[in-house]
Amino acid sequence: MTAVRGPAVRHKLAINRLRDRRPLDAAMADRFLARHEVPIVEGDRCTFLYRGEADEVFLIHRIFGLPDHLPLRRLHGTDLWYVTLELPAGSRVEYQLEVACSGERERINDPLNPRLAHSPMGSSSVCYARGYSVPDWTQPDPEARAGSLVDMVVPSRALRRDCPVTLYLPARFRRTARYPLLIVHDGGDYLRYAAAKTVLDNLIHRLDMAEIVAAFVYPGDRLTEYANSAAHARYLTAELLPRLEAELPLAGTPSGRALMGSSFGAVAALATAYRHPDAYGSLLLQSGSFVFTDIGHDHGGGPPFEPVVRFVNRYRAAPRPVADRVFVSCGVYEPLIVRNRSMVPVFEAAGMTVRYVEARDGHNWVDWRDRLREGLSWIFPGPQKYVYE
């Protein structure tokens, strides 16, 4: 487990102690960097650094509530730049640096920080504030029996394309058993960036969740298919589901079926259940792009969000149960936090059982990975309570 710990800081920050040193020169900066991990985490304060000649340096992040370009200050007499942010315990922040030099601006990962986070958009640096630790169940565990991944293709009349699906079958898969089914939107990204297979292997091994079959689905035109598309809902419910239930030993009841997704994928999950309210027992919605308007038409999301806004507005005006249980998670540092918080009472008013979890993280795959234990163990509880060794 990787953890960043330390007492709440009361003493002078390292960077301020350095500022007071004389003579302050390149050699001093070298020694300072050799002594510290970057960013420097001291209590709730994190100091970000850049070393090099530049006209300006900015910290680029997506922490909702803070200016997204935070200027770094140059330490007099050196080419060391710094800015200190207060990050509450448990925070995890992805960021980059923007370096302006001779009229050129370049956005780079932090050369002083080896920690990287990856996503379909590329990589970025990541800061672990005090108290954040990489959950051990997200890392490969040699003790955990590995499930298997099987690729298949489902021809879809609804979507007018051949749809790839990656199936996860749990270790010791048996034809005589009956498994719940989890359908995962953006399946390839969950597998690649959220360690979904490792997480499933570990949570099943630790009895935190039931043995399940998961179907990782891949979008075609994502912004169309995942934005309340009738064709997508029909594909999942009238084409994929019957085929999987015919070919695999699945529970085949609403309580044994769940839809999962993040961002637009969460919209797709909700919209699919909305169109087929008797099909799915549970939803696992992460950082849903539940953009809506209370009045007027200015939602700020741009054209791709138009169908989403229409759908969410309609749902909020007349909420109805679309599943029995809904797990909702969102990062407090993402702009969607307000939208997701606003959906919780709406889901509850519709009569669904809701579990809502927030984390000091952003709109990213690692945040979604880190919430999977709470979500999956709630949606499909494991046999832990039955096992007494």
Binding site: T176, R178, K385, Y386, Y388, E389
Partner: protein, 315 residues
């Protein structure tokens, strides 16, 4: 019948327990709670001095699943019904226990004030009623299932039952290991281990040594519990009946690790729910020897009505 209950066997004591019985002959073992790992019993066999004969109840259950599809389908149906019953019970239990805890909080330091005490007692009584009704319902469903399926008339099951009875008939003692208590209870019922344990004509009943889930499966009331799950503390819930060799005792293996034992108001509710039955923590090193017709012996550590763990005094 002599029964020796043990705590979790991370540091094994089962060998000492078996030796203390002073018996000769094979020792039947049940490791079905380990499910797919049932056959990985080399260490246990070694502790028993190579005298172990594994009854292979999980393997027999898998075989039944394969060779008697009618039974397998019916079992899946009844498991679905039982799961639904458990969900409904848990929903009601959640509300009933929230009421108890809310009253405890409201009482604060005046827990023993008559008005508050009566309100809490009434709320606990409602939970007891719910627990009892659920147990009756679950046992009723299981009873109807066996009455309808007539397992003794089904060739595959009947053959396994005969083999199990034969092995148990030759055994000097029976050892039941821990593991998945639901699986254990199911296979013990399916292969009619209770009948074999109840004693053959003219023979004394076979002594039993059991730990953790194996011990729970001997009781008439299996209570599931776990305060350290990913979702936080859960409610102790009645699951069903085991072999009912032991009555009026609720066994709590690994209680220190799995329960918030220091939360005495919470533990008091558990003790009060299942009283006058004894709630008995089974920790590593615990050994309790008892007779099926007698209660827990003096010295047994139990949850008291005020939520502490204390040793029973002689009556």
């Amino acid at each position: 019948m002599r029964v020796i209950l043990l705590g979790p066997q991370r540091r094994p004591t089962v060998d000492t327990a078996i030796r203390s019985l002073g018996l000769d002959g094979p020792v039947a073992t049940i490791t079905a709670g380990w499910q797919e790992r049932e056959a990985d019993d080399g260490e246990l066999s070694g502790l028993l001095g190579g005298r172990a004969t594994n009854l292979g109840l999980y393997r027999r259950w898998l075989d039944t699943q394969d060779r008697d599809p009618g039974y397998a389908a019916a079992e899946r149906r009844v498991q679905g019904e039982l799961a639904e019953l458990q969900d409904i019970y848990l929903l009601r239990l959640d509300h009933a226990l929230r009421a108890v805890y809310a009253l405890q909080r409201r009482a604060g330091d005046q827990l023993h004030d008559q008005l508050h005490a009566e309100a809490i007692a009434a709320a606990v009584a409602a939970v007891r009623e719910l627990d009892a009704a659920h147990l009756r319902r679950v046992n009723g469903v299981r009873g109807e299932f066996f009455a309808e399926l007539l397992p003794h008339d089904r060739p595959v099951i009947a053959a396994h039952r005969a083999e199990v009875a034969g092995l148990l008939g030759r055994a000097a003692a029976l050892v039941i290991a821990g593991g998945h208590v639901g699986v254990l209870a199911d296979v013990l019922h399916l292969f009619n281990v209770a009948a074999a344990l109840s004693g053959r004509a003219g023979d004394p009943a076979v002594p039993v040594v059991a730990w953790s889930a194996g011990a729970m499966a001997l009781t008439d009331r299996i209570v599931l519990f776990g305060d350290r799950s990913p979702q936080g503390p859960g409610h102790a819930e009645v699951y069903g009946s085991g072999l009912s060799v032991l009555r009026d005792v609720v066994l709590l293996p690994h209680a220190r690790a799995r329960m918030l034992l220091d939360d005495t108001p919470r533990m008091a509710v558990i003790a009060q729910r299942f009283g006058p039955g004894r709630c008995v923590p089974l920790e590593g090193g615990t050994r309790i020897e008892l007779d099926r017709d007698r209660g827990c012996p003096p010295g047994t550590r139990v949850l008291t009505g005020d939520g502490r763990v204390a040793a029973l005094e002689a009556a």
